[in-house]
């Protein structure tokens, strides 16, 4: 290939440019939802999704994609398929209005995490956890415990399905303050510019 960049010229020839292989489904793997806690004591908030071959890789990619900047104290990921979603409502409607009471004594109780969408266009925020036998029951218990104000959407995730940050892994974000070169505040050119402008205006007067 003809290029200004010697590294591009050195690229090995691979595949046939005239006959590009069709990408098959799942070539880019499944998706995982990412939740971030910006500061100790603050609620976890949904930030977006990553594609990954498994939960562990999803965790690593989530760290790269969502926590390179700004403060972060913790992060977790869950397979999108393990997020149970209520109806999305608008106006005066509350998403909990469509949740009927469910009582399920048949199975062992486990822990579920509950998330609310408080304003359309914003992120889902963690509000607490409940013990239930199923996601449906978890939602009906959440209705009794957390149904205050207008909620547009509810998510429920079994705690066991989440890949959390371990206490040792929290050190991942300790080096953030050392990476000032990724902050706008590290690029102050004002003084250099000012003295340049003064020099120029003196020169033009001479």
């Amino acid at each position: 290939m003809n290029s200004l960049d010697p590294r591009v010229i050195r690229l090995p020839k691979t595949g046939d440019p005239q006959n590009i292989q069709v990408k098959t489904p799942l070539d880019q793997f499944g998706t995982f939802e990412v939740f971030v806690q910006a500061k100790e004591g603050k609620a976890f908030q949904h930030e977006g999704a990553v594609h990954a071959p498994n939960l562990e890789m999803a965790y690593v990619l989530a760290k790269e994609t969502f926590t390179r900047r700004f403060t972060c104290s913790s992060l977790y990921v869950v397979d999108t398929r393990n997020v149970h979603v209520s109806l999305l409502t608008e106006g005066e409607q509350n998403a909990y209005d469509s949740i009927d009471p469910v009582s399920d004594q048949s199975k062992e109780k486990r822990s579920f995490e509950i998330y609310h969408l408080l304003k359309r266009g914003k992120q889902h925020v963690h509000v607490g956890s409940v013990h239930a036998s199923s996601p449906q029951e978890a939602m009906s218990i959440a209705k009794q415990q957390f149904n205050n104000g207008r909620i547009f959407n509810i998510w429920v995730v079994a705690t066991n399905d989440i890949r959390f940050t371990s206490p040792e892994e929290k050190e991942l974000w300790l080096t953030l303050p050392e990476k000032k070169f990724r902050d706008a505040s590290d690029y102050k050119g004002g003084d250099k510019l000012q003295s340049f402008l003064e020099r120029r205006s003196l020169e033009s007067k001479v």
Partner: protein
């Protein structure tokens, strides 16, 4: 980073006639109230189609835009510039990940988007089809192309589609570093030796035409976008965005003692807008349709990366997974 390009070519509003009028009215009322549309909401097909097209082009622009700058990492002057440029290029690729996810919530798979990029079916920002000859070209991109992208992105962040707005909020916050870094690089060239000053002046001379193209064709020749403005898909016209960029950055370029290669460029005191020589839209069309200095190289580099990564993706594939759309 991203420019207006020819994103909205060929809009046929007739397709609206087949939409349910009650649902359509509720959809438009929601946008008028300033509320966001979320993936689970009803939306007209035209809205879905144009948003996919716009967000996908934006994502491709981040990926391809990382190439002309990425090539300068090893040659950036000094350790600190190398660190910064690496961080910036990593940001751009990260932004593509956020944007691909936002487009996926509208129903187009990531596999299909990548396929459409490497086969040349999808477009990306035209400006990345031009070569970076010197370090000053790289500085021009970091400062002024990013500045143009931020003007676009800040406007689009006030749009109507929730997932796109949330991605843009994060992108804009991260890009404030790019802009300051780029300006810092240019201040160093401008206050340096005559040779350094000449180098940046030559970069301006090379990049000014693509920079004017960056915001897309003039309003008088661009496709009908009224419905997209009403739906807050497109937030301002190409000419208005171009004018806003000129307003913010021409004085900063002049302040550094550089000239801009357009004798007609001046602020019109009557209209309050900038007058300039009409950009060569024939060249713009030619380049965006594949006949630019670097189109072939950019797509070929992306295709080779795709080929070389194939065995890794195949090795990691598991039968336990199934695709579901990202949630928000």
């Amino acid at each position: 980073m991203y420019g207006g390009g020819n994103t909205f070519e060929g809009i046929k509003t007739e397709s609206l006639a087949s939409e349910d009028p009650t649902l359509l009215a509720a959809f438009e009322a929601r946008i008028d109230r300033g509320e966001k549309i979320e993936p689970a909401d009803w939306m007209p097909e035209l809205y879905r189609k144009q948003l996919i097209r716009m967000i996908e082009q934006h994502a491709h622009s981040e990926i391809i835009g990382a190439l002309p700058e990425g090539t300068w990492i090893t040659r950036a002057p000094g350790f600190k510039r190398k660190l910064a440029l690496m961080a910036k290029v990593q940001d751009e690729v990260g932004h593509a990940q956020l944007l691909y996810s936002a487009a996926e919530t509208l129903g187009k798979s990531r596999e299909q988007m990548i396929q459409d990029l490497i086969t040349g079916k999808s477009k990306y920002s035209n400006i990345f089809n031009y070569p970076t000859f010197t370090w000053a070209d790289c500085c021009f991109i970091s400062w002024l192309v990013d500045a143009g992208a931020i003007v676009n992105q800040l406007a689009n962040a006030k749009g109507s589609y929730g997932p796109y707005c949330r991605a843009l909020d994060r992108i804009c916050a991260e890009e404030s570093f790019h802009l300051k870094y780029g300006h810092h690089c240019v201040i160093y060239l401008a206050t340096g030796t005559q040779k350094q000053r000449d180098m940046f002046q030559e970069a301006i001379n090379r990049w000014w035409a693509p920079m004017m193209h960056f915001f897309g064709p003039a309003d008088k020749i661009s496709a009908h976008t009224e419905v997209l403005m009403r739906w807050k898909v497109k937030m301002s016209t190409n000419d208005d965005t171009r004018n806003q960029f000129l307003d913010m950055y021409v004085p900063k370029i002049w302040e550094l003692g550089f000239t801009i290669p357009d004798i007609n460029l001046k602020k019109n005191s009557e209209t309050g807008k900038w007058d300039y020589t009409e950009p060569d839209w024939e060249e713009f069309k030619r380049v965006i349709n594949g006949d630019g200095p670097c189109n072939k190289e950019r797509l070929e580099v992306r295709r080779i990366a795709e080929e070389r990564g194939r065995w890794v993706r195949e090795a990691l594939k598991t039968s336990k997974t199934a695709y579901v759309m990202p949630l928000a």
